[in-house]
């Protein structure tokens, strides 16, 4: 069964290209969200299994959003990302419940199943 994935990023070009890349890898990208509000909406409507979440959203900050969503659904697997590899303090990532943080340019070189399922 394919993992149902929500992609959250304010950069539409990145969303498009990463969604295509992840589809090729067998993920079912069910929804895109461009900001935290859309992300919450998407989670409550579509009930995804996993979320790829950029920490820099225009209306919110990714790590705290991750914590919020995970507290609503403990089975959610959230992978944080950013174009800046040093953008997310490790401790905060751990505390948020997210499965990890990978810089955008490393995503396709990593084993995503560990983080997204």
């Amino acid at each position: 069964m394919a993992v149902r994935l929500l992609v959250v990023d304010d950069d539409s070009r990145f969303r498009e290209s990463i969604a295509r890349a992840l589809s090729d890898r067998g993920y079912d990208v069910i929804e895109h969200a461009a900001n935290a509000a859309e992300a919450r909406n998407g989670v409550s409507r579509m009930r995804p299994d996993a979320i790829l979440l950029d920490v820099n959203l225009p209306d919110g900050e990714g790590i705290s959003l991750a914590r919020e969503l995970i507290s609503g659904d403990g089975s959610l697997r959230v992978l944080l990302t950013s174009s800046d590899s040093a953008a997310a303090p490790a401790r905060l990532v751990r505390q948020s419940g997210a499965t990890g943080f990978i810089a955008k340019d490393e995503l396709l070189a990593s084993d995503l199943s560990r983080y997204l399922g």
Binding site: N56, E61, S83, D84, A86, A88, P89, R91, L92, D105
Partner: protein
Amino acid sequence: MTDFLTDLGGWKVATEDFLAAVLSVAGQPIWVVDPDGRIRFANPAAITALGYDSADELFGRHSHETIHHHHPDGTPYPAAECPMLLPRATGETVTRDLDWFFRRDGSMFPVSYVSVPIDMPEGRGAVVAFTDIEERLRAEAVLRERDAILDQEQASLRRVAAVVAGGAASGEVFAAVTCEVAKALELPFVEMSRYEPDGMATVLGAWGEWPHPFEAGTRLALDGPTISARVRDTGRPARIDDLADVTGALAETVRSTGIRSAAGAPIIVDGRLWGVMVTGSTQGRPLPRDVEQRLAGFTELVATAIAQSQAREDQQRLADEQAALRRVATLVAGGSTPAAVFAAVAREVGQLLDLPLVEMCRYEPDGTATVIAAAGEHPFRVGTSWTLDGPSLTAQVRRTGRPARVDDYADVPGTIGAAARGGDVHTGVGAPIVVDGELWGVVSAGGGRGVRLAPTAEIRLSQFTELVATAISNTQAREDLQRLAAEQAALRRVAVLVARGVDPPAVFHTVCEETARLLGATSVNLAHFTEDGMNETIAGWSVRQTHVPHGTLLPLEGDTINALVHRTAAAGRFDSYEEASGELAALLRTQGIRAEVGAPVVVDGRVWGALIAGTDEPEPLPAGAEQRLASFAELVATAVSNAAARAELVASRARIAEAADEQRRRVVRDLHDGAQQRLMQAVITLQRAAASGADPAEHRDLVEQGLEQTRSAIAELRELAHGIHPPILTHYGLAAAVEALADRSPVPVRVEISEDRYPASIESAAYFVVAEALTNVAKYAHASTARITATAEGRAFVVTIADDGVGGATPAAGSGLAGLEDRMAALDGSLTVHSPRGGGTTVRAEIPLPER
């Protein structure tokens, strides 16, 4: 004789016998006259009184012709007028208080008698009883004489009383009194004198029938046991009937006037032995028996008069003194100068105390006294200076701080005593002038020969000197106020310049000029002590071009106020440059400067320079000038400090701007050298891949290369961004950002930073301090651990980075930490490094937090 019987209470006696017996024993002369006027009987008393030997001489004789024949004035006395015989005719008793009988020897004597009629066989006769009243008359005459004398004396006393009551006990009064007494007591010489405290007596007045040396005012030495001495010693009247053996010069003088006997009575005023009244008489005219008692009557009167007169005098003197004090006090209250007040005091004191030689002295610190005002002819002239050797008034008052007196300058050794004697000053009193609690000087009032000091003269003088002291104090207070006001005004003018941020050179020049005018200095210079021990003259002003020229640069050594102030960091003075050594001192001498005072200009705890006031006049600047100078020196220090602070501010801002520019240049360079290069390479590589045609291996390789180059570019950009401002800091705060730094540190770091957020500029400054410090820890410290804390401490945010390494770090110019100092300065913060060798390094940054 018929034989009748008389009944004596039952006892019958022969009348004749009885009568005969009674008549013979009766002491009263009695005779009987018959109707013819003949004496028929006379008792023994009558016979004796009339000077007869026996009754026979009288019997049968006509009584009137025998004993009553003439009046006392010699005119005949007819028998018909004889009152004794009248009762024969009239049968009435006749008494006469005064009549005159003749004795047998023809002498007359006064009698009083009573004649009683008696019936006889032949007719009526008379019995006459008479009394010889000669003794009585004589006694009465003596009494009358004495009464007359007493009356005279009373009259004299009353006259004397009137004289002394009429006016003060003056010389005229005393002369009048002695004259009256002499006349009343019929004495040829009377003299009155007053006893003096020194054992002498002063003649108040004398009267004599002949010339004598005892003029009013003469002072007598009571040597020898003269009357005056006796009375003084005993306090009682005395007499000496023969002065021949009395020793002493006074007795000699007395004898030389012809006086051989003397008597005296004390004059006691208010219970005190005050003086004596003395009388003398010549050979052959002995003094009356009770003359000393009679003198005492007069001396009592005189004493009363003197007491009253003294009381009046005292009251008058008190009133005069009060009036005088009021006059002087009015001057003082009206703000008169001390000189005017002194002149008034001298006038009043001269009159009140009879001490016309007055002077006022000021005590100098060197122990001498300077005369600053004088009245009357005496050797203590204004401006003269006197040493206080010997117990003169001036010296006594200085020593005791209390009023003093000199009863006779004959006994006073020392400079002042000699001058006084030479100037005919014989006696005097002095009282201290105490101004604001300090002994300032003395007023002395003296008199010439013959002046006698009243017992309380010095106390009375001190009442006047109090007024002088008040005048001086007022004047000083006024002068002080004026000087203070001038000083404050000058300081304000300079302070305004300083506050307005006027250019330092202008401020310095103004300070020099204001200081010179205020202190009465003829030149003022401001000197700067350079780092290399030179004295740089940076401003100056003078009345006569004597100040050191602007720009003069000389070694700061030698005997100058500059060197002194530099060494001691305190105000000081140099009273003479005569013998001073050194180039600067030589220059001062050339300029004509003789003495200087200086005060340090202290900036940031260091003696930056000195403000120096000098004079080209012979007198050095007055005491206290260096302290007044200090107020101006402080203003100069403020101006210098402000100027330095402003300069530093400007430089700091310039450095910050420069640093910002440098950072921008670096960013552009790094962008160009780094990311831009990489992206260029990636483009080229991918272009080659696009053009690679059919070979999938080559194609894949090129694409991999392009990917690698692009990622490098991303990494470069990331580093650049971090170097300007790390995103974690912005989004997650100082704690998170420092933790990220700590993670990258090769030395284990403990981070104790709260999650609180602070203003971005503060977090940023703190972050870069930590970053730089951690870089140094990694590079130089050789430490095993480090600890970072950051927290608010009161009004500042304090960051510390401490390591246990080798220490010995100094923020060298151009090092990373030095560059951060400017950033700190821009935030008004501070950066300190504590790095003892071998003891680890602690970097501490303190940044003020904004007001809540």
